[in-house]
C-alpha cells in the first residue's frame, strides 16, 4: 500500500517534470537551444497565478492568466532575444538564454521581493482526499496526472497529425529543406515556443499546487531537473521527454521514501552524468545516418 501511494506520488511529480521537459525538448529540437530560461518562465507563471488570484479570487482566471502570461512572455523573449541570433553560433544563443534566466529572476525579485509567498493551492484545486481501499489519493494528484496526460495526448496529436505539427518536425529535421517546401521558419519557431510555454503554464500551476510556495528561484531547480529529464529521454524527442520526466519523478520519490531525501537532487544530476557517459543520445534519441 505504501509502495502504491509512493508510486502515485512519483507519477504526479513525474508528470509535471514531463510537461516542463517537453518545452525544453521541443525548443531544442527546432533551434538547438537549451532554453535555460524555461524554468524561470514557470516561476513567473507562479507569480501570475498568485497575483491574479489575489486580485480576482477567481481560480479559473488565475489559471488562464498563468498560461497566457507564460505564452506571451516566452514569445516576447523569443522575438527580442533569440530571433536576432538566428545566424549566430549556438553558444551565443545559450549564453543569451542564461542571461534571460538571470534577468527574469532579478525582475521577479525586484517586483515581488525575494521573500517566499504562499500559493493559494487549495483555492485552485480543493483539498479533497479519496479513499480507495486503504489508499488515500488527493484530488490534486488526480488532477495533475489527468491534466498532464491529456496535454501530452493533445500534443502528440498536434505534432503527428496537424499541418503545423508536421511543419515543426520538418523544420527540426532540416531547416533549409523545410524552407524549400514553403514553410515559414520564423512562424514555425514562434509556434513551437507557444506550445512549449503553454505546457509550461500548465506545469507552473500544477507545480505550485504541489509545492505551494512561490519565490524568484522556484524555476531554477525545476528547470534543471526537467532539463535532465529531457536529456535522459533524448533531447529533441517528445516521447523521450515524457519518459524522462516520469523516470526522474519516480526516482526522486523512491529516494525520498527510502530515507535519502537529502540526496534526491544530487541523484538527479548523477543520473545526468551517468546517462551522458553511457548513452549521450538518451533513451529515445536516435541517430539516423543518411543513405546515398
Amino acid at each position: 500500500m505504501l509502495f502504491l501511494s509512493q508510486l502515485i506520488n512519483g507519477l504526479q511529480l513525474g508528470s509535471i517534470y514531463a510537461l516542463v521537459a517537453l518545452g525544453y525538448s521541443m525548443v531544442y529540437g527546432i533551434i538547438m537551444l537549451l532554453n535555460f530560461a524555461h524554468g524561470d518562465i514557470i516561476m513567473m507563471g507562479g507569480y501570475f497565478a498568485l497575483v491574479t488570484y489575489a486580485a480576482s479570487s477567481n481560480p479559473l482566471l488565475a489559471v488562464v492568466a498563468t498560461i497566457v502570461g507564460c505564452v506571451v512572455l516566452a514569445v516576447a523573449i523569443e522575438k527580442v532575444a533569440y530571433k536576432p541570433l538566428r545566424q549566430a553560433p549556438r553558444i551565443s544563443l545559450l549564453i543569451t538564454a542564461i542571461g534571460i534566466s538571470l534577468f527574469l529572476q532579478n525582475a521577479a525579485q525586484l517586483i515581488w521581493t525575494a521573500n517566499s509567498r504562499a500559493f493559494p493551492s487549495t483555492s485552485i484545486i480543493p483539498s479533497i482526499t479519496f479513499k480507495v481501499g486503504g489508499l488515500s489519493i488527493s484530488l490534486s494528484v488526480l488532477v495533475t496526472i489527468a491534466v498532464s496526460v491529456a496535454s501530452m495526448v493533445a500534443l502528440t496529436f498536434l505534432v503527428q497529425k496537424t499541418k503545423m505539427g508536421k511543419a515543426m518536425r520538418a523544420v527540426s529535421e532540416d531547416t533549409e529543406a523545410a524552407q524549400l517546401m514553403g514553410i515559414n521558419i520564423n512562424s514555425t519557431i514562434t509556434f513551437t515556443f507557444v506550445i512549449g510555454s503553454f505546457l509550461a503554464g500548465i506545469g507552473s500551476v500544477l507545480y505550485c499546487c504541489r509545492y505551494p510556495v512561490v519565490n524568484p528561484t522556484l524555476g531554477s531547480l525545476l528547470g534543471l531537473k526537467a532539463f535532465v529529464a529531457a536529456v535522459l529521454g533524448g533531447i529533441g524527442s517528445i516521447p523521450g521527454a515524457v519518459v524522462g520526466g516520469f523516470a526522474i519523478g519516480l526516482a526522486e520519490v523512491l529516494f525520498t521514501s527510502i530515507g535519502l531525501s537529502a540526496w534526491t537532487d544530487a541523484m538527479v544530476f548523477a543520473v545526468l552524468i551517468i546517462m551522458l557517459l553511457i548513452k549521450p543520445t538518451g533513451f529515445m534519441g536516435r541517430s539516423m545516418t543518411e543513405k546515398v
Binding site: 508536421k166 518536425r169 520538418a170 524552407q179 517546401m181 514553410i183 546515398v292
Partner: protein
C-alpha cells in the same frame, strides 16, 4: 521569359563564389548548368530559391523580382528546388514528405498524390514507410515527387543522378524527359555532362563562378573543349 538571372555576385564570407553570372530560362525549356566540383552550380540554385542572397545583381521569376524575397515565399510563386543530396525528411514517412511538398496548398489532395504516384509507383507502395529506410534511388524519387506536389512552374534539380547506379540514372533522366513533355520547365544542374547535354534545350558551362560557354545542348555536346573537359575525350 520564366527565369532571368542578371549579373549576380554571391559570397560566402570572403569567398567570392559566383562572379557575375547571367542566364535565363524560357518557358518549356530544359536548361542545364554543368561544371566541375566547386564551380558554383549549387550556389546558383540556392541563390535563386532564396536560401542565399546575392550581394549584387537581380533575379526575376515570371517577370517578378524575387531577389529579396524569403525562400518560403518564392516556393509559393511556383518555383521548386530539389536540393543536392535530396534532403528528404528522413524521420518522416514517405506520405508525410509528400504532404510537406504540398505545404503551399491548403492541403494535399488525392489528385496531387495520384499524379506523383503515377510517375513514381514505387512511392505508392512505400507510402507509410519512414523515408530514412528508402534506398538511394527511392530517396531521389521521393525528393522529386515531393517537389512536384506543389505543381511548380519551374523545377530546379541539383544533381539528381548523384550516387546512383547507371540504370537508375537512366530512369531518372527518363522521368526528367517525361516531366518536360508534360509541360514542366526544368533547370538542371549536373556533373554527368553527357546526360545533361542530351536532354537540354540549352546549356551553360560553369567554371569557378563564371559562365565560360553556352549554347544548345547539341552544340555543346559536339564541342571539342567540352568533350575533353567533361565527356572523357
Amino acid at each position: 521569359m520564366m527565369l532571368k538571372v542578371d549579373d549576380i555576385h554571391v559570397y560566402y564570407g570572403n569567398i567570392h563564389a559566383i562572379k557575375g553570372i547571367s542566364f535565363d530560362v524560357n518557358e518549356g525549356e530544359i536548361v542545364s548548368l554543368i561544371g566541375a566540383n566547386g564551380a558554383g552550380k549549387s550556389t546558383i540554385l540556392k541563390t535563386i530559391s532564396g536560401l542565399l542572397r546575392p550581394k549584387t545583381g537581380s533575379i526575376a521569376f515570371m517577370d517578378q523580382d524575387i531577389t529579396k524575397l524569403d525562400a518560403h515565399k518564392i516556393v509559393h510563386q511556383g518555383l521548386a528546388h530539389v536540393p543536392e543530396g535530396r534532403r528528404i525528411f528522413l524521420k518522416m514517412t514517405v506520405k508525410e514528405n509528400l504532404e510537406m511538398g504540398a505545404f503551399t496548398k491548403p492541403e494535399a489532395t488525392k489528385q496531387d498524390f495520384d499524379t506523383v504516384f503515377e510517375r513514381f509507383p514505387r512511392l505508392k507502395e512505400r507510402q507509410s514507410q519512414v523515408a530514412g529506410t528508402l534506398s538511394g534511388g527511392e530517396q531521389q524519387m521521393l525528393a522529386m515527387g515531393r517537389a512536384l506536389m506543389s505543381a511548380p512552374k519551374l523545377l530546379m534539380l541539383d544533381e539528381p543522378s548523384m550516387g546512383l547506379a547507371p540504370i537508375l540514372v537512366e530512369q531518372i533522366f527518363d522521368i526528367i524527359k517525361t516531366l518536360h513533355d508534360a509541360g514542366t520547365t526544368i533547370l538542371l544542374v549536373e556533373q554527368n555532362a553527357g546526360m545533361a547535354l542530351e536532354v537540354a534545350s540549352r546549356a551553360y558551362v560553369l567554371e569557378t563562378g563564371s559562365i565560360i560557354l553556352q549554347g544548345t545542348g547539341a552544340e555543346l555536346a559536339d564541342s571539342e573543349d567540352i568533350k575533353k573537359a567533361y565527356l572523357g575525350g
